[in-house]
Symmetry: C2
Subunit: 394 residues, 2 copies
């Protein structure tokens, strides 16, 4: 018996839930072919537009995020098309897997795990190896905690009328400033179990006018993830197939909460938590894995020399019920990942760092207890002061 130990998720999805929205979702039988539900769908799509920061259409599907990623491939491309994939981690590789599944030739621009994509290299590839029907990247690579410069990439793709830009922002949305319309992010992909504070089971895709033109020409087979069919039905507040009704109600609730909180505050919150986590890691003598361009969504931290990251995770889990993610694939055992997606606050940060300090101590590392927490507290105060000054200046 460990006495009272609460389970806490610090994983990059699923993430902590906004309980009040989830409870609302569970409290009634619900039929989707009713005016009530159509109204809910229309409002939810509007809320999604706000959350995506776009005027483009936003589609929603009953699936995990990978489903909408597959839809971006099957709705934009035809046999014989060539695409450029920018990859620097496990989720970049998912684009390659999808291209392979559909027999699409993908030219790869790769950065090592932990580094951001090199936009000069992508520009060269676009110039020399194109034309490409589409470019596929991540906004933030969840497996390494790196943020890619999709703004610069958008400018590169915008000037190529034959090419659309697809951005997996599954962990980027709600953690990272994204301006799809201004920057030319033609298709942006999201999922429900991330900064949206709700369980998995819904995926989203925003689609620009440029992308809709590509959809019209695209010949790859699709049925369940048919973008054009979904757009047509959503305009009536309907979905092509039975929607995941309870999750849609939940989504409406969390997006209302996010709108009331303010999207920019949600993003600033993630930025503060990520900064605080990095400062705390450094104070404890550990290196953030992403030395440049770290993501706000999730922070990957290198385990101290000679220590398996899995041991740290296990210690935190078994003693304190908090779940932190291991590295994936070749990074397993080398890094651990702490999420800042959505419903986390400064108190969560301080608590986790305190727990981390104890775990390191138990694993035999000499730790000045409280030193990591202090770094996190100082970061919190710095961000608060800056926000206050910005508020006064405005």
């Amino acid at each position: 018996m460990r006495g009272i130990v609460k389970e806490r998720l610090f994983t990059p999805g699923p993430t902590p839930l906004l309980f009040e929205a989830q409870v609302k979702a569970v409290t009634r039988d619900l039929h989707h072919r009713t005016e009530d539900f159509r109204k809910l769908v229309r409002e939810t799509v509007e809320l999604l537009r706000g959350y995506f920061n776009t005027k483009n259409d936003v589609l929603l599907f009953a699936s995990s995020g990978t489903g909408a990623m597959e839809g971006a491939v099957s709705n934009l491309l035809s046999p014989g098309d060539r695409i450029l994939v920018g990859t620097a981690g496990k989720f970049g590789e998912r684009w390659l897997g999808l291209a392979q599944a559909y027999g699409i030739e993908a030219v790869k621009v790769e950065s090592p795990y932990g580094k951001p994509l090199d936009m000069d290299e992508i520009k060269k590839c676009l110039d020399r190896s194109g034309p490409f029907r589409a470019v596929f990247v991540q906004a933030t690579e969840t497996s390494t905690g790196v943020s890619h410069d999709v703004k610069t990439l958008g400018a590169l793709v915008k000037e190529r009328p034959e090419t659309v830009l697809v951005v997996d922002a599954i962990t980027g949305l709600g953690t990272t400033v994204l301006r799809p319309d201004e920057w030319g992010l033609d298709v942006v992909i999201g999922g429900s179990q991330k900064a949206t504070m709700m369980p998995p089971g819904l995926s989203f895709a925003s689609v620009s006018e440029k992308a809709w033109k590509a959809v019209e020409k695209a010949k790859l087979p699709r049925y369940y993830f048919d973008f054009a069919k979904e757009r047509k039905n959503l305009a009536k507040g309907e979905t092509s197939y039975t929607p995941a009704t309870s999750l849609v109600v939940n989504l409406h609730g969390v997006l209302t909460y996010i709108r009331e909180t303010g999207l920019e505050r949600l993003i600033a919150n993630a930025a503060m938590l990520a900064d605080g986590t990095r400062q705390a890691a450094r104070a404890l003598g550990m290196k953030p894995f992403a030395e440049s361009s770290p993501a706000n969504a999730v922070t990957a931290i290198c385990a101290p020399e000679g220590m398996d990251s899995g041991a740290i995770i296990k210690e935190i889990r078994s003693q304190f019920g908090a779940i932190v993610a291991n590295g994936q694939g070749t990074m397993k055992g080398k890094i651990f990942r702490v999420a800042h997606l959505g419903y986390f606050d400064a108190v969560d940060l301080f608590a986790l760092i305190a727990v981390l300090e104890i775990a390191l101590t138990k694993l035999g590392r000499k730790v000045d207890l409280g030193s990591g927490v202090r770094a996190a507290q100082e970061t919190y105060l710095k961000h608060s002061d800056e926000a206050q000054r910005a508020g006064e200046a405005a």
Copy 2:
């Protein structure tokens, strides 16, 4: 103001929810890459096997039922393959739409809406127009309330080693006796918002050894609905992509309830409700749409001569909060459909028939109030007596 009016679903999906299982699903944050969740997944797959009445693998996906239907097409077929589709309603036509989306030639054996598929005709087609890679049908056609004889069809397909049988049992499961292993139903498709008493968002597919051999050879593109990948991961209690965690917890709860209740009792309950609904309709001078081979899942009733079925539905909805489904497509306005999927009991039946009698009266039809209810009560008593005698004989 209407005073107290409770919302009640009598629609063939979504259906009334088993509230205790749903509440359990909502009460905690949950991560899927944990031993706890792996155990839950493994148990859920075992419970699904019981629910499907099969020893075959059962896969589960975060999607509505159509997603698993698409998976059956993309995982079993290759470009150039020919298939036979038996269709007698809107869901049969979905198989045709899927074949078309993937460029697969589908030979159609059709029955008029309201009639079951003619197995002699299917046999002729198999003999004369084959070979086919697969045959696609429904166990019960939800749009018309008709049950197809998949047992006879299974015997026809079983003797053809090159052909697999795919049965959409989305509303058949839990309402209809199905013996996939004995009858040779190679792939059986299910969805969560039906007799499983929970919200939409999960789909299921059972896959026989014969079907797995077809999967190995199949070349159509698939990624999110990749059967072989899902089988491999489920063996470890994992899913290929983030599972809809809250819905999986819910599913575990409802399948446990169904196991405790007894699958055969769940099916007998639907049979009793369907029979009672038909008898009541006849007592009120209306015809069940399916004159032969009516389904237990849903009963379609023809509106009285000169009366729009939509008017009946509207009356029931606005006065009593009960939602009954209209006909789909060309059947709209002609029939209304009452579901018996899952969490309905005899009390629900008596209440709905009473409400229907009042609606008909308000719409100007002369009704002997209580006469429909009496027919339903007599049917209930008859089924109870038979069940008791069967119990004593056993």
